[in-house]
């Protein structure tokens, strides 16, 4: 009897492996775990896009839940998600932008053309703040809690459905 069962071992092994690999087929290959989850927003000291005289640092995120959106004028997806961001601002959520790898003129032009839901925009022409955040393409969006800790990271375009399903519940959770 035991010998018979032993003969079944390869089949069982094969089935287990099949189930495991089959699950892999339905994974999204673009999904990456964010390395910054539950970590402090990186230390920085930057000019704002709007006013070269004004400097901001990570204390910007103390005391209020903030949605930080990394955008660039060169990025078509960023333009497409602006209506959703304006909607979030209308709901009273605080948004801060990072103008990523843009010139000042292009950045300001973008805000004029597509609307400005941001309380302030951090000017990051070299993309070094983006690098600290592990940004590998715009748009990317981070939720920072009132203690300045990153709680949620969305990479890529934010659809109206993403707002309903992910962004709003997360904001609610950390509010």
């Amino acid at each position: 009897m035991i010998r018979r069962l032993l003969l079944l071992l390869p089949l069982i092994g094969f089935l287990v492996l099949s189930v495991f690999l089959y699950q892999g087929l339905s994974l999204n290959p673009f999904h990456r775990d964010s390395a910054l989850m539950a970590r402090d927003f990186p230390v920085f000291d930057k000019e704002t896009l709007e006013d070269p005289e004004r400097r901001v640092d990570e204390s910007l995120f103390r005391g209020q839940v903030t949605l930080v959106n990394v955008w660039g004028e060169w990025c078509p997806e960023c333009k497409r998600e602006m209506p959703q961001l304006l909607d979030l601002a209308d709901r009273g959520i605080r948004l801060v932008g990072i103008s990523y790898k843009d010139t000042r003129e292009k950045g300001m032009g973008f805000l004029q053309d597509f609307g400005d839901p941001f309380e302030v925009n951090i000017f990051d022409p070299e993309g070094d703040l983006g690098f600290e955040l592990g940004v590998y393409g715009a748009p990317e969006t981070f939720l920072v809690d009132r203690d300045g800790i990153i709680r949620y990271h969305h990479t890529g375009y934010i659809s109206p459905e993403d707002i309903r399903k992910h962004i709003l519940p997360e904001v609610e959770k950390w509010q």
Binding site: R32, D33, A35, G127, Y136, G137
Partner: protein, 157 residues
């Protein structure tokens, strides 16, 4: 004549393709061949975060360029390879390493091949032992007589 013209056009195209390729990934100067070697192996061991499966030394994505710049800067700063790898993982996650680090989540991954070899070895030893025991056990008087009878029955019609 037409053939020559065509060949020349083809060569020009190839040359342009080569130039475009050279423009994509920058050439770096190193004073120290060891550092150059380290730069090569570091950039070959990290995966571009936006591309599906391309090392950062082979990718013209902007983020790969930024990562190469950072690696170059950190090497010039005299940082260790380990530090540079950790620096990248802290920002872009474990995804960037082709060879994942050994930690709580990857014990299974690193341990499984060795574990399977050990398991297979134990299995072979057990099977060999079982076989040896089986052949060593001699037939009893009774079994021998029965075997004889069976053989003879087969021979005589």
């Amino acid at each position: 004549m037409a053939v020559i013209r065509l060949t020349l056009a083809g060569l020009a195209l190839l040359l342009m393709a080569g130039l475009a390729q050279a423009g994509a990934i920058e050439v770096r100067e190193f004073d120290d061949p060891v550092m150059e070697q380290r730069y090569r192996s570091l950039t070959a061991s990290m995966r571009c975060p936006t591309c599906e499966n391309q090392a950062i030394n082979d990718s013209d994505a902007p983020v790969s360029r930024d990562m190469r710049d950072r690696i170059y800067m950190m090497l010039q700063d005299g940082r260790a390879d380990m530090e540079i790898r950790d620096h990248m993982v802290e920002r872009f996650g474990d995804y960037v390493l082709y060879n994942p680090r050994l930690d709580g989540r990857t014990y299974l991954l690193w341990g499984l091949p060795g574990g399977l070899v050990v398991f297979g070895g134990i299995l072979v030893v057990l099977v060999v032992r079982a076989r040896r025991n089986a052949s060593a056990r001699a037939l009893s008087e009774e079994e021998r007589a029965r075997l004889e009878a069976l053989i003879n029955r087969g021979r005589t019609p």
